[in-house]
């Protein structure tokens, strides 16, 4: 593990991948497995959407995540809620202290305005991709569509809301080696784009990399810190566990 991270060892990885900046990827992380993301060069942004692989109309819900935990951002010991009252993923480790939930992603016009347009014909695979297209590329692979493109998490990025409501992007939230662990509490389809954060300053398109790995860690134990970080979360975990009360799952909260 990188010296700037205090992340715990997780045992052998069952899957490993390196995601270059601007690209897109998706995978299923089954209940009890942990997805580890490490920002290898610093300053990364990973837009993230999560769906219940067993019932893909159930998906990560920004508002339910925020109001259940009385927060506007994610950090260690907080969790990602679905729209159906279940904990989807738990942030069991985090080196950054803040992951944005309220800014959405970039589209082609935003990337062109900030960084200049650079298409495939000109730049081959160094063309400047945007977050929206990245999400659509991945959603389409799993039979999903624009209808499923909702407010995403932006891992590794920090946007502070001042008292008057104004939104300020904070640089250097993620030094090289910063690690975040997301443990799946449902069978989770995780859809990602590593395009820049929509409020990131500067005109240089990023060139970093994010290491991804999946490890068996087991689902949340009875004394798990995420389960007990809020009384609401104790009930959210109960709802997740009820999904698996029958071997093939399926109950609403």
């Amino acid at each position: 593990m990188n010296e700037t991270s205090s992340a715990p060892g997780l045992g052998p990885a069952v899957l490993e991948e390196t995601l270059p900046a601007g690209c897109h990827f998706s995978l299923v992380v089954r209940r009890g497995y942990t997805l580890r993301l490490t920002d290898l060069k610093g300053g990364a942004n990973v837009g993230l959407l999560v769906f219940n692989q067993d019932e893909k109309s159930e998906r990560y819900n920004m508002a339910d995540t925020l109001k259940a935990q009385h927060v506007s951002r994610l950090a260690q010991s907080l969790v990602l809620y679905s729209d159906m009252g279940r904990v989807m993923m738990s942030m069991t480790h985090d080196d950054c202290g803040w992951h944005d939930t309220i800014c959405g992603t970039t589209d082609a016009a935003m990337i062109a305005a900030q960084y200049g347009e650079l298409d495939f014909q000109t730049a081959r695979n160094d063309y400047r991709r945007n977050g929206r297209d990245g999400f659509l590329h991945e959603l389409g692979r799993w039979g999903l569509s624009r209808r499923d493109l909702v407010a995403n998490v932006n891992l590794f990025s920090r946007v502070v809301v001042e008292d008057d409501g104004s939104m300020v992007f904070v640089e250097d939230n993620s030094p090289p080696g910063s690690t975040v662990d997301l443990r799946a509490e449902l069978n989770c389809l995780v859809v990602m784009t590593s395009a820049p954060h929509p409020l990131a300053p500067g005109s240089t398109y990023p060139t970093g990399e994010v290491a991804l790995s999946v490890h068996w860690t087991g689902p949340a134990a009875a004394d798990d810190p995420c389960r007990h970080s809020r009384p609401e979360n104790e009930r959210g975990f109960r709802n997740s566990e009820a999904w698996f009360a029958q071997p093939a799952g399926g109950i609403r909260a």
Partner: protein
């Protein structure tokens, strides 16, 4: 000031759903008749409803999480849907989402599961009147008259309302829109003052 003619006025009873079409150029006013009500509202492009309201694109574009006069509600395609042209309250929420049976079990208690909720209103309004719109088409909504302060430390809470009797918000439609409303039936937090009441939905056009 443009002369306006009222073309409809509808009372939305406490806890009731509502779905209406507003044409581009028309104005719609939502009146918090008795005060301290929460009006959960969501919007679709009436002609192509896969395009819908986007809370995160709206607040990111204006660099502010609160909605008030001058705020333009953007779609999932980053296009203007409606613009707020009058607001006697001062700010409205778009981060708190709609209440649901499921989130009520998390936020309050499993015993709250069978209480009425905004999700039930949204689903009933869509599924009883439309064959093309389902839960997948519902994103994060606007909560008119609701007070959800966000702190620089990353906190968020549902606080006592700052609206009062007769307060209103008025929008001009930038495209033909479907307006989906749940007059919030929540009894477990102060968003409706623990006493949901009727609101008025009024549509105007240029005289």
């Amino acid at each position: 000031m443009t002369d306006l003619r009222m073309i409809s006025s509808t009372t939305i009873r406490a806890g009731a759903p509502f779905l209406a079409r507003v044409e581009a150029g028309q104005r719609c006013r939502i009146v918090d008749t008795l005060g301290n009500e929460a009006v959960d509202a969501f919007f679709f492009n009436a002609d192509h409803p896969i395009e819908r309201y986007s809370a995160v694109d709206t607040i990111r574009a204006q660099r502010n999480v609160y909605l008030t006069t001058g705020s333009t509600l953007l779609s999932t395609e980053n296009r203007p849907m409606l613009t707020i042209v009058a607001d006697t309250v001062g700010r409205h929420d778009t981060l708190g989402g709609a209440c649901a049976s499921e989130s009520n079990t998390v936020r309050y208690a499993h015993e709250k599961k069978f209480m009425h909720s905004c999700r039930d209103n949204f689903l009933l309004a869509l599924l009883s009147e439309r064959d093309d719109l389902t839960k997948r088409d519902i994103g994060s909504n606007v909560n008119f008259f609701m007070n959800v302060p966000v702190t620089p430390e990353g906190g968020l809470s549902f606080a006592d309302g700052i609206s009062g009797p007769g307060q209103y918000v008025e929008m001009v439609a930038n495209m033909n829109v479907l307006v989906l409303i749940s007059n919030c039936p929540q009894l477990n937090n102060p968003c409706s003052g623990f006493d949901p009441t009727p609101v008025e939905f009024i549509v105007y056009e240029a005289a």
